[in-house]
């Protein structure tokens, strides 16, 4: 006999709202219906009523985890429209902040995954590690959530002491290798909980256009930092970890390996930080008529911004945001089909969803 279980809008494991109706046969999920919009704030509507400087601050509020990704994307779109190239030091600082953000996001998610699986020591360990990254971001920007680092044509703050950030990178890399990787790669309890659970095949991943670690865990090797480099990524050497099993474990392992690649990128960017200015143009930037598009590889995958200006007003005609969770979330339905009911919270959490980003 089939029955329907409403899950949400308060998620059993995560702190943001969305709703799932699970249609079950016994303990197995036969199908699922997703409902979003509980965090809808009309940010794209608001953006059409703010000037270009205010839009940067507004877009930083799309997400509380990957806030930097949004300001970077919108600034790049405006720079393309206004034909401005930021100075090399600013491009390196953008890479450093973007990778610190990826690090804290991935380590946070590793902790949440541990918590969802009842592995609370892992949760505490990961949040301790993440705190080191948060402290580094706070020292650079003065902020822990909205760093306000990006401006059109440059960045708002310098990184005057790269060595202090390097020390954090060394510590984090050592601890990820010592704790997170061995647990995710070989812990028996964890493997039983994750291996073969919530599978998304490569074919499904392509059809649903999923992005970021979710795509890479299903054997789709796409990464905007490599495929269409921005900021200073073309100067960086790094690998794009890919797994083919498409299950929760693959998503765990891909993110864990990506933290090591972030450390590798950070080390290169911090050691080779070019001299010179970082602030870019000091006069008000004129944004001509047209549409500028920017893509950035956020912690959860590709973010796309399309910004249209009419060349007459200092407010955009349109700001379109396509966030990674928006692309990834519909695939949850496929991951859930045939899964055990008890695995549903973990499967949902395994895409590292951001509902604020999705709803905007």
């Amino acid at each position: 006999m089939s029955y329907r279980i409403p899950m949400g809008p308060y998620h059993p494991a995560l702190e943001e709202p969305y709703k799932l109706n699970l249609i079950c046969d016994g303990e197995r999920v036969r199908d699922a219906e997703l409902r979003i919009g509980f965090n809808f704030r009309g940010i794209e509507y608001l953006a059409e009523r703010r000037n270009f400087v205010q839009v940067i601050a507004l877009m930083e509020r799309v997400c509380g985890i990957c806030s930097n990704v949004h300001t970077l994307s919108v600034c790049q779109a405006l720079e393309r429209l206004a034909e401005i190239e930021p100075p090399p030091r600013a491009l390196y600082i953008r890479v450093i902040i973007a990778e610190l953000e990826r690090l804290h996001s991935h380590v946070l998610w590793a902790g949440i995954a541990g918590k969802v699986m009842g592995f609370k020591t892992m949760f505490m360990t990961c949040f301790l590690l993440r705190e080191k990254v948060m402290e580094a971001l706070e020292k650079i920007s003065g902020n822990r959530v909205n760093y306000a680092m990006n401006r059109v044509g440059g960045v708002n703050r310098d990184i005057a002491q790269p060595d202090s950030v390097l020390a954090v990178v060394d510590f984090l890399e050592r601890e990820v290798n010592r704790v997170i990787i061995p647990v995710f790669a070989s812990n028996r309890t964890l493997l039983q909980r994750c291996a073969g659970v919530g599978v998304l095949t490569q074919e499904q991943a392509k059809a649903y256009g999923v992005v970021g670690p979710v795509a890479r865990a299903s054997g789709v090797p796409q990464d905007i930092r490599r495929a269409a480099p921005y900021a200073a990524y073309s100067d960086m050497k790094f690998e794009v970890p890919v797994h083919t099993s498409g299950d929760v474990r693959a998503r765990l392992v891909v993110r864990a390996l990506e933290t090591l690649e972030s450390c590798r990128i950070l080390r290169q960017a911090l050691k080779n930080l070019p001299a010179g200015d970082w602030w870019g143009p000091t006069e008000e930037v004129e944004v001509p008529q047209g549409t500028g598009i920017s893509r950035v590889e956020g912690p959860r995958g590709e973010v796309l911004y399309s910004v249209t200006a009419d060349g007459e007003n200092d407010t955009p005609r349109r700001v379109k945001v396509r966030t990674p969770t928006y692309a990834n979330m519909p695939a949850i339905r496929l991951m859930l089909k045939g899964a055990r009911l008890a695995d549903a919270p973990l499967i949902q959490a395994s895409i590292d969803p951001c509902y604020s980003c999705t709803d905007r």
């Binding site: 919009g37 009309g42 495929a227 549409t291 598009i293 796309l304 379109k320 396509r322 692309a327 979330m329």
Partner: protein
């Protein structure tokens, strides 16, 4: 690397690709939207999203279809005056939420794709981003 230069011919349009502000653009007078989707999917392109925008001059709605082909961002532009365009959802499941959201923002109907609420609640009015004077 897929050669994109033949895509305009395949779609039967005279316009050429234009590299502008972060994307390659193809903005024909008239775009066969389903033909575009079929062509892009056959080349292994990844559908990213659609940017919709209400145009002030002729009150048409502009739809920019964004695709990724081997890291290259390709954008096809189409305009609709009557706010009815064919859906590509059956060809490309990734378009499902995107088309539903555009209906809620701009009241565009996607033929062949039955509307189901996405961001707004059941029974609430759509047209969230339609300028107030046009709503």
């Amino acid at each position: 690397m897929s050669d994109i230069s033949t895509i305009p011919t395949e779609l039967g349009v005279a316009e050429e690709w234009q590299l502008l502000n972060g994307s390659l653009w193809l903005a024909p007078e008239s775009l066969d939207i389903r033909g575009m989707a079929t062509t892009m999917l056959a080349r292994g392109a990844r559908f990213i999203t659609i940017t919709a925008m209400q145009l002030p001059e002729d009150e048409a709605t502009r739809l920019d279809y964004h695709w990724d082909l081997n890291g290259e961002l390709l954008t096809f532009t189409s305009k609709t005056a009557d706010k009815v365009v064919p859906s590509i959802c059956d060809l490309c499941p990734a378009a499902d939420w995107i088309e539903r959201e555009i209906h809620e923002y701009f009241t565009v109907d996607f033929e062949g794709h039955e509307y189901e609420p996405l961001l707004v609640r059941e029974g609430e009015p759509v047209g969230v981003l339609v300028p107030e004077e046009d709503a």
